[in-house]
Every structure is written in structure tokens, then in C-alpha cells.
Assembly symmetry: C2
């Protein structure tokens, strides 16, 4: 089995033109099959303000009404995705941009309304890997934005971390998959303010303790749940840290193990 | 050689949700390899107005400054392209959205400034068909928006009619290609106000006469130049008319011959 790297980048790279260009230059030089998954950053919020579409947040999560879905589709699948693809091409990395609708690669269910109606938000139901395998075996690099579809013509806003982990799980039947979550910190931190206090390894048992002791909380919880979901479903390696971890073996980061 | 149909649709379908849905339902049922190319319609202009980006037209052609290119990328490659792909998936047509940057499929040169600076507008330099052939042979339908790139990281606004004809020419080494331009009229008209006055066949000689007699003028000239460029470069069949021509053999339309 060949190794496939699935790398997710977030707002700290997406929102900074220089950081994005530097990352893409380095990403393009990673050898072997690879997939890039990108979040949306602050651009969507800025466009919503310009267009006077109200940004509605509940518990820190964006509510995706029809107007917001349009904006997300324009920014994530249009502006960000196509510019990333064009920059990768300039670095001799033959990329193709994807939403989950493209190639029917990621099918989601619209989230059911319980207490809160999050609108057009999708929870991943299935990943179809046949076309991705075909492209990866032909030296193409898929670049995914955080949009999926329901197979009935509806696009759905979907968490980029989840897209990355589901791709890593889905493709683990064909590749030895490695999942890298890049964000603004060196990893999961013992002390949130101290970027040197990286916890280099977290397993299921130590994770439980870290949550109980409230070392891990808020936004890190869903990220780590995605990590453990992946490592328990045939993903070979899961890491969290600054994107430097990909290019410099000495760079501290957190590795998730069973 | 298998036959490949390349179908271009414009604003009269893109701007009308019902017309678009009806067209995509029918398009999905076309058997054999096919590619859809879509223009942008009026959405980009409307978004530019909402965002207070000035729309600058010279001789009826949009000048593409950086702000306008962003809007075009968001609307064409984002909103329109992804919704078209999702609707095709809902009709069991496995589509993947493309700009010319994706798969490095269409490379353009930024148009040189002579008298007028059209900004980020690209003239097609080359079409790379390898990935498209791979996908077409795996029952995937590429859906192209009217954006290309220069291989140096710059996206470029490119005429959708030209994209369709260049794809038809480029793929003619592998497929017997047929090119269909769908627009709001039944074809090239003898009398511009009379939709029944379709000129059913135009060849190089009669075209010359029609232009001299000013039966063909303005916006029809570049469209027909694309048609003749295609028919003189190994495209087997070139037709202009309402999209009905694709689904009903009796529907009048214009066929271009050498």
C-alpha cells in the first residue's frame, strides 16, 4: 500500500496571502499521493458583511441559511479553492478542486433540527473514493473545500476537519492514510498560552483525563473527536500542529494514538 | 472513435432556475461522453452591484479588474458551477466541476494591452486533455466554468464560447467531437426579429456573404468565428440553436459546415 497524506489547513493560513503562498510552495513539493482540505477563514464573514447578509452564530457555530450557503459556496468553492488550485499549478502540482458534490465524493445528510436549526449544514454519510483513487493514481492532487451535497441537489456546509477525517477513513482501504491537522499552534497544549507546552502524544486513555481536567476544552474537543474517530477507523497516523510539522521532522506537534 | 458532445449554455438558461433545472434533467439523460460549458449570466453583475464593485464595460465587454475577477470566480466557479454539479448528481449524472486551472486543463495568456486594457482576461493558449479523457472514459461529465489560468497562479476570465470550441478541438484527437451552442434563439436568423427565419446551414462561403450583407453582426460574429474555427480544426459537427435541438431532432437550428 502506498502512503496517502491528507492535510487540512485552516484560517491562519487561508487568511494570510503570504502564509498561504509559502505553505502551497512547500505542499507542492511533498512527494507521493496527497489531498489538501481547506477551511474558509474569515473571508466568508467579510463578504457577508459587504452583502449585508446577517451572520447568525449559535454557540460559536455559524447558522447556514440560504443566503449564507450562497456566500460560503462562492468563497470556499470559488475564490479560495480556485486560487489554491491555480497556485498549486504554478508550483507544478497538478491539482483539481473538489466539493463533495464533484464526483459524488462526499454525501451528507442535512442536520436534523433538535433544539437548534443550523440550516444547510451537512453531516457526512458516505465517501465515494473510486474517482479519487483514479486521480491520485494519476498524480492528481484533489483540493477539497468544506462543502458537501445530499444527492438531491442540495449543497451543504460541512466541517472541514470532518471532511479530512472522513476522506482519510474512506481512502484507508486503498492507501495507508496519514491525517495532518494544521492550525495556529504547535499542537495540543498543556497550557493554552504556552506554545512550547505541546503534549506530544495523546491516546484514548490520556485524552479522557485531559478532558476531565479541562486541559482540552471548547473548539479542541470536536477537532480531537475527529482525530480519535480517524485513528480508530484504520487511519495509520494522525497529527496536530503547525504546518511546519510536515516539512521539518524536528518540529514539535501532537500525535494521536489508539 | 466514440462521439463526445460538448454543450455550451448561456444566460437564458443559467439565469432562470426553472429553465436550468429542466435543461439539466434532460442533459443528464444524454448518453455517451459529454461536457457542459456554462457562461455566467447576470448573477455576476448583480453581485458586483451588491458589493459596490464598479462594472466597467467597453464595447459591450466587461473589463476584468481584480475585484471583478474575484466576483466572477465566486459566481462562475462557486455558486453556478457547484449548484449545476449538485443538480446533475441528483439526476444520476456523475459530474465534476472544472475551471481551466483544475487539472491544468486550459492554459491562457493574459490579453496584451493594445488600445484597451481588458484586465484579467485570458486568450486560450493550450488545452491539456489527458485528465479529461481519463474522466470521460470513466463516465464522468466535466462541467466547465469560463475561467482559465496562466500557469503562474493567475486566474483569467475567458469567453465561454471559446472554451467550448477549444475543448472540442483539443479532444478531437481522441473523440469524434460535436459542439452545440445553446442560446435564446432557434439559430442564426435571416431576420433578427423572426425566430422562424432560421438559416439551417451556413458554410464558409455563405458566411462571408451573410456578414457582407450585415445579416450576421455584433455579438453573433465572435460566436460564429468560434464555430468556424472549430469546424476547420477537426470538430465533426457544430450547431447553434435553442437547447431543444439536443433533445428533439425536429427542432430547427443552424448547422455550420466547412
Amino acid at each position: 500500500m502506498k502512503t496517502l497524506k491528507i492535510i487540512k489547513i485552516g484560517g491562519n493560513i487561508i487568511d494570510n496571502d503570504d502564509a498561504l503562498q509559502e505553505f502551497l510552495n512547500a505542499f507542492a513539493r511533498i512527494t507521493g499521493p496527497k489531498i489538501l482540505v481547506h477551511g474558509g477563514g474569515k473571508l466568508a464573514t467579510r463578504l457577508a458583511q459587504k452583502m449585508k447578509v446577517e451572520v447568525n452564530m449559535i454557540d460559536g457555530r455559524r447558522v447556514t441559511d440560504a443566503g449564507t450557503l450562497d456566500i460560503i459556496t462562492m468563497v470556499y468553492a470559488g475564490k479560495i479553492n480556485k486560487n489554491v488550485v491555480a497556485q498549486l499549478q504554478a508550483n507544478n502540482c497538478n491539482a483539481i478542486g473538489f466539493s463533495g458534490a464533484d464526483g459524488n465524493t462526499i454525501v451528507s445528510n442535512k442536520r436534523l433540527v433538535k433544539n437548534i436549526d443550523y440550516g444547510f449544514v451537512g453531516d457526512v454519510k458516505e465517501v465515494n473514493t473510486e474517482i479519487l483513487v483514479l486521480l491520485l493514481n494519476n498524480a492528481i492532487t484533489p483540493v477539497f473545500c468544506a462543502i458537501t451535497h445530499d444527492e438531491n441537489g442540495q449543497l451543504l456546509n460541512t466541517n472541514a476537519d470532518t471532511i479530512a477525517s472522513e476522506l482519510a477513513i474512506g481512502l484507508s482501504t486503498v492507501f495507508k492514510t496519514e491525517l495532518y491537522y494544521c492550525f495556529e499552534k504547535n499542537g495540543v497544549l498543556e497550557h493554552v498560552e504556552d506554545d512550547d507546552s505541546v503534549i506530544e502524544n495523546i491516546n484514548t486513555a490520556t485524552y479522557k483525563t485531559l478532558v476531565e481536567n479541562k486541559v482540552i476544552f471548547e473548539g479542541m474537543l470536536p477537532k480531537l473527536n475527529n482525530c480519535f474517530h480517524a485513528i480508530h477507523h484504520h487511519v495509520q497516523k494522525v497529527c496536530i500542529g503547525k504546518s511546519d510539522m510536515l516539512f521539518n521532522a524536528k518540529n514539535k506537534h501532537t500525535t494521536i494514538t489508539k
